[in-house]
Amino acid sequence: MPKHQITTTINGDEVDFGCHAGQTLLDVLRTELGMTGTKNGCGSGDCGACTVIVDGRPVNACLVLGVELQGAEIETIEGMAKGRTLHPLQQKFLDHAALQCGICTPGILNMAKALLEKNPDPTETEVRYGLAGNLCRCTGYDKIVRAVLDAAADMRANG
């Protein structure tokens, strides 16, 4: 059976891919496009490791089909740094040691980015609820929450 041919924009570049009807965006990114920065922790929407941004909204890539994405704009972790300059969130995650094993990190960074776009000055509680769909088993969340709050402050200061 022929694959569906889909044209999207990924991290600003036009990208074509072929996919079967049942193939998720997660599978397309990782298997068809070799973009393994988006992680698979469960495949069922529970862990958030696969969080990417589609048309401006954070979604679980494991719960989106490739065939739905004709014309969509997709942002993944691979596009977060601009050239060789890390995004303020990436910087702050390094400064605050907000990762241990790092498997949750790409998803959390994307979710945090989407969160700060909607709410540039969140409280600790808002950050915690905002990241509730992203499991981290290593850190106990403390340093992650601090890093996001600090990045938010930085981003506000630097416009």
Binding site: G43, T139, D142
Partner: protein
Amino acid sequence: MANENSTTNYKWVGKRTRRPDGVDKVTGRARYGDDMTVPGMLYGKILRSPHAHAKILSIDTSKANALKGVKAVLTSAEIPDHPLSQPPYAPIINDMHDISRNVMARDKVLYDGHAVAAVAATSERIARQALKLIDVEYEVLPHVLDPLEAAGRAAPILHEDQFTYSADGLSDKPSNLFRSITGQRGDLDQGFAEADIIVEREFTSEPVHQGYIEPLACIATASEDNCVELWTTTQGHFVIRALCAKLLNMDLAKVRVTASEIGGGFGGKNTVYGEPVAIRLSQMTGRPVRMVMTRTEVFRASGPTVGSRTRIKIGARKDGTITAADAETWYQAGAFKGAPVGRAAETFFSSYTIKNARAVVHDVCVNRPKVAAYRAPGAPMAAYAAEGAINELASRLAMDPVDIRIKNAVREGDESLMGTKYGQIGLLDVLEKVKSHDHYSAPLGNNQGRGFALGYWMHGGGLSSVSAHLLDDGTVTVATGNPDIGGSRSSMRVMAAEELGVDIELIKPIVADTGSMGYSHLTAGSRTTFATGMAVIFAVREIIEKLRALAAKKWRLTIDQVTWEAGQAVASSSSRGGIQSLSLKELAAMATKMGGAIAGHSEINAGGAGAAFSAQLVDVEIDPETGFVTPLRYTVVQDVGRAISPDYVEGQMQGGAVQGIGWALNEAYIYDDQARLQNTGFLDYRMPVASDVPMIDTVLVEVPNPNHPYGVRGVGEPCLVSAPAAVANAVENAIGQTMSSLPLSPPKILKRIDEAQAAGG
């Protein structure tokens, strides 16, 4: 040389530095188990038993074999069998007989999710489809899940060839009880006779999963000349190599294992699951085979930790002196023997100097997945019972819970129940810090309670290998054989830079594969910074020796006329005027012309890791109408020896505390009446999410471990040991009632509140 005895003036040790693998992990570049592909690779999938206990009557693979795209179908016939180990048994058993049966069920399936067959196909979809075409005929047998019941006479027997092992030899009838470990001293009867007050309680806990976010994943490439390359997510690729080679009767040297970046392990990635199956499928097909578990498979078939049933009795005098303590506990090993019984016996009472004490721990097989290690294996459930009983003792004596511990605390020179003698330990320092912390005396509101508990862990040392190379531009690679789970490369780099006296940016730490290094034991038991770190120090010191020799040669001096100071070889002032120093960079450039490249290596069996203690304070609030628990405030005070990388030490403590909150409140394996696991995903296996927990304050107490050049102790384990007990104690305190079975889920709490109300309490 770096100053061994000084506790101050380190250049890098104790500083907050960015980790060397950080950028790759925040940009998505880092490659984890499932991020690798190999050209021509096939997709492996495992068929799993829907029954908890059944005989396999037949397996028909013909339809699966006939599916287009299927390249091989495997059953246990393709996995070599091994004889059962015989007594006397080692403290930790790696029985190939069991491992062979755990990776692929032989005559019987022993738990829901037990592997029964596997396929390799050209796509994952085809592989999944093929599994549905395998016909397995089962004869379902009665099952048993509870360890007390399983140890009883009427229980269905999992292994007809397993007999209870004791000092008298083997039992005459097969039994699910494999063995019992006893730690004992003094005279219990006399101890209890001396007591003014005795607390007797029962505690239970359920198996919980390590809950790492990265599922198990590997790729095996077997060649026609019996070599294998294996890429896998593991806490110890040397252990994986040993287990695969032994299981599949291969030469160790021909199995080369590369550890991927690892997405969490906590003990759960210490052994083999899909690896031997992937290797066999690759051997059968002549193509690389990738094997990735789904989350459901991870829950159903990879090791959770033990669940426990504990009876405990503690007696004390009015002044709080504990005169006797006795515990007996049944640990679920899962389908195969090997519950961490020795560690449990060690944990019960080892924070306290109790003259008369006993801990008996039983290792019992039940129809659940074979348990794996989980942070301080065996200890948190023991501490839950022991600390719970001591907290009740304190409250009945109207004594401060910290004071009763200070009164009974072990000190340097004391011995643990299992005979470990304590060196320099920080227990009293930790307890004093708790008392002086403002959390300890902060006021509590309505429906709020405060909990306290102490955790102890005797750390591991063991085999580690390191190979360090000075390159001709003056940079240094430091290769270890230990996968980096939580920032160990950062600590290795810090220790190497500290020894060399150079900038950390000149050091590149690497995790090398099994073909490039001597044996290195697991990244587990909080041993890596201690043991592998020590090997790093020794390897780097060898480089320094060679550099001093090189400088001496250049200066025509003897080596003892050259010292190493702040990253430079320096001629001692008496030896020769005029010459000052040669930097690492200058020496590196000279080396290849003057005798060859410079490297240092170290292969050690580290001992003396020492004990560490973690005290935890936690406040919770309970909704008395629903039993909902909100953790409000949390403080961990721990003796860390020396924090090489304080950020990652704190991270370990915070992560441990939150895992403990999950364990105490909501996490548990839930089975239906057919012993089928009901909660096979994160939606119902309730690990804490970010909004469930508060910030976790940490207090690092640094009482150096004299057996490590910088004073390192492990930090990853003790913080989980005390956490469930502390949270449970806080819940009890908030509702003013005792509770004795984890998890303290809202239905249980509400029931307890209602019972107390009905009783007029």
